[in-house]
């Protein structure tokens, strides 16, 4: 009996050790990564921003592809907060944006001034802004143009002679229409403040910086962000998220008989076509584990299906092609 027992024990141990090292570890299923746009029915305090980068990279204050992106498209400038992946309370960031326009021969606004007024150096960006615009530009400029614009204005006032150009500026702006589009629809007025557009000085308008190629040309390591965002700096503004939210909210009813509405938190995910219609059937990601859970989840799906097509900015389709939405009545 002893030989049998010893043999058996040894064999079992061998098999266990073999299993530990030779058996492959369970491989996770391949899942395609989804760039979802979260929309919450709970009030959102911050803008959501999608940064181009790597999902596995560390979260950094400053997204690396940010720099080149700014040069290529001046969009980020008007909305200081967005470029930061971590919006919460980082006042310094805005600086990054306002500075480029003035010293760095940015797209249009600063350049003409450089020519018009010998002192291209924005040495006194803030100060001149106050006195010069006073005559007429100021009122038009509206109460609070972002810093960037002010700096741009700064030089022009001294030469001041030609404030009447006010109406014309719209022409130079078209190349960068997004400047205002992103966040605050109110800002459009600021573009008009770019006073003089002189065709002779077009060369000055040109960006003298060497083209950096794509936005990925940044030297810094990739930062945390979405991998597939083709338009890394475009983002859904709060108002646009609100729009989608309110469109869905119209159709969503809290299930009857719900005792504690705070428990209702349903997360569903759906795809949208370019025209705003819902593509396929929304999938339920999460629903409360109680009697009404499925009812609430199906109600949410129904709401999404009923309320389409949605009016959303077409140029940001990348952002809302796939939407993850959280339904929660407590908001």
């Amino acid at each position: 009996m002893r030989t049998g027992l010893i043999t058996s024990i040894i064999a079992h141990l061998l098999i266990i050790f073999w299993g530990l090292f030779a058996l492959p570890d369970t491989k996770p299923f391949d899942t395609s990564s989804v760039e979802a746009l979260p929309v919450e029915l709970v009030p959102i305090s911050d803008l959501t921003s999608l940064q181009k980068g790597k999902k596995t990279a560390e979260v950094k204050d400053k997204p690396s592809p940010n720099k080149p992106a700014e040069k290529d498209s001046p969009k980020p400038a008007p909305t200081p907060p967005p470029p930061k992946p971590t919006p919460p309370s980082t006042p310094p960031p805005p600086k990054a944006d306002p500075t480029p326009p003035a010293p760095k021969a940015e797209p249009t606004p600063p350049a003409p001034k450089a020519e018009a007024t010998p002192p291209p150096t924005p040495a006194a960006p803030e100060k001149p802004a106050e006195p010069a615009p006073a005559p007429s530009p100021e009122p038009a400029v509206a109460p609070k143009p972002p810093e960037a614009e002010k700096v741009a204005e700064a030089p022009p006032p001294p030469p001041a002679p030609k404030p009447r150009v006010r109406p014309t500026p719209p022409t130079p702006t078209p190349p960068k229409p997004d400047q205002t589009a992103a966040a605050k629809p109110a800002t459009p007025t600021q573009s008009t403040t770019d006073s003089k557009f002189d065709p002779d000085k077009i060369s000055a308008l040109l960006d003298r910086q060497k083209p950096t190629g794509s936005t990925q040309a940044s030297q810094e390591p990739e930062s945390f962000g979405a991998e597939e965002a083709r338009n890394p700096t475009a983002m859904m503004s709060q108002s646009e998220l609100d729009a989608l939210r309110s469109q869905v909210q119209r159709c969503w009813n809290l299930p009857v008989g719900w005792t504690d509405p705070r428990e209702v938190t349903v997360t569903i995910r759906f795809k949208l076509n370019q025209d705003g219609t819902v593509n396929g059937t929304p999938s339920i990601e999460q629903y409360p584990a109680s009697n009404y859970g499925t009812v609430a989840a199906e109600g949410a799906v129904r709401a999404v299906l009923q309320c389409g097509p949605y009016q959303l900015p077409a140029e940001k389709y990348d952002q809302w092609s796939e939407v993850q939405m959280r339904f929660s009545p407590q908001g």
Partner: protein
């Protein structure tokens, strides 16, 4: 909520390892006991299997050798003298037991040949019963493991799934990532039950049939030898 955060959370969730060891360590205490019990059952049943296979091979070889010697025409007296001190095999034990009874009766001057025949038969039966009991000992354990192992494993699985459902109810979260690990570790109990039971069942059937064959050969020899002795008794009277 930042979409980046969502993505990161999704990446972090399945990070927990699901190797067999971690599955075992994370299991509920009841499930752990079941798994350990099944592990010991498996070890013990394999010990029995190895032991029995060796024993049966040995017994068969001894029987073959004894039969060759027995039918070689050697005198039974000589054979008895060489074997009586230590009967080497089951069949030799039969032979020695019957011969001893025969000699004892004759030396005492037996009067009734029928009574002698009956005694010899009874001695042979007792010896066969003793030998087959030695052959078949512990085989019943294999049968028990084979039939009860899956049930024990199933008990572990049911218990594990029960606790994992309780955990779901407590956390109010139905996502698969919450449910899956508990069910995986619970299913491991059934896997262990099957691992222990399958070899046990197969080995039990195989060993039971071999032991039946050996017992059959012993009985056949006993009948033959009893016939030989009976003829001797008749001749002497």
């Amino acid at each position: 909520m930042n979409p980046a955060d969502v993505g990161q959370a999704a990446l972090d969730a399945p990070a927990a390892s699901l190797s067999l060891i971690t599955l075992f360590l994370n299991a509920h205490i009841v499930v752990k006991c079941v798994m350990l019990g099944l592990g010991f059952a498996s070890i013990w049943s394999w010990a029995i299997i190895v032991d029995k296979v060796l024993l049966y091979g040995r017994v068969k070889r001894q029987i073959d050798r004894f039969e060759k010697v027995f039918w070689s025409g050697q005198s039974l007296e000589d054979l008895y003298r060489s074997l009586s001190s230590r009967p080497a095999s089951a069949m030799a034990a039969l032979f020695v037991a019957a011969m001893r009874e025969w000699k004892r009766s004759f030396e005492a001057g037996a009067r009734s040949p029928i009574g002698l025949q009956m005694r010899i038969d009874r001695v042979l039966d007792v010896t066969i019963a003793r030998e087959s009991e030695r052959l078949e000992s512990r085989l019943l354990f294999l049968a028990t493991v084979g039939s009860a192992g899956p049930f024990i494993g199933l008990f572990g699985t049911v218990w594990g799934i029960m606790t994992s459902f309780q955990a779901i109810a407590a956390s109010k979260n139905t996502s698969l990532a919450v449910v899956a690990p508990g069910i995986a570790e619970a299913l491991m109990a059934t896997a262990l039950g099957l691992i222990a039971a399958i070899p046990a069942v197969i080995a039990y059937n195989k060993l039971a049939s071999s032991s039946g064959k050996i017992t059959g050969r012993l009985e056949g020899f006993a009948d033959e030898f009893s016939a030989i002795l009976s003829r001797q008794i008749d001749e002497r009277n």
